[in-house]
Amino acid sequence: MSAVLDVTAWVCLVIGGLLSLSAGVALMRFPDLLSRMHAATKPQVLGLLLVLIGCALRLRDAVDITTLLLVAVFSMATAPVAAHMIGRAAYRAGQARSDLLVVDDLAGADDKR
């Protein structure tokens, strides 16, 4: 049983780490700020969750697991807000590269406040 948990934890940690690495690669490679925001916030969310699950499986201690749970909940609750604020500010500051956009419904929106 313990061995199964250890192997599962190992798999979770490795995949989580690889996802975080891919987020770093994407951050370097993507062409404009909005695309980079995807990389910065997203594979990292799943990567973080996997790392947390891996840690929980390895630690198997109520005190640690509850803390990990809180980390997961708060990062999932706050990541979208941060991404939205930066994305919105970037778009308004004209940092979105319109040549890369296939469709831009926001360009014609009157309500930019």
Binding site: L46, L101, L106
Partner: protein
Amino acid sequence: MTGGRWRDRGIAALGLTVIWVLLWGSFTPLTFVGGLVIAVVVLIVFPLPAVTYSGRIHPLGTLRFAGRFVLDMVVASFQVVALAFRFGHVPRSAIVAVTLRAPSDLGLTMTAEALSLVPGSLIVDVDRRKGVLYVHVLGVESPAEADKFKEDVLELERRIVRAFGSPAERRAIEEVPA
């Protein structure tokens, strides 16, 4: 009205207490009562804005939403990874306006949060009055794909309303064909 307000406050206090107990990592009378006292003090010092929630949670709908959400997140994460490692290819994207059919504050927020957590979509702007989400979608190559994405968002909204929506929201969702 005031009854609902007190119910909301009770739920908020309970939620804060749960967080406190989780932080301590052990459920003892001391952590529970201590958490409750701190929660009440926090709610008195920093009163929350009133959130109108008229729906109720449907277990089956919630389960379906949660399962699909995890699936979407895993699939989309690997799509972004694939894009990141496709060298010599510049990913194009789109900003799509999606008008939600049942735009309550909570429904709008939950849809936006769920969309943001799934890789490949990012909320750029929200029109709260009209219930419009402006979503930046990564890896879109043609307007047809953008339309396809719009339908996916409406599907997501439908799942969220089926999980947490009020009867009025449900009617709005079921009446208008997707």
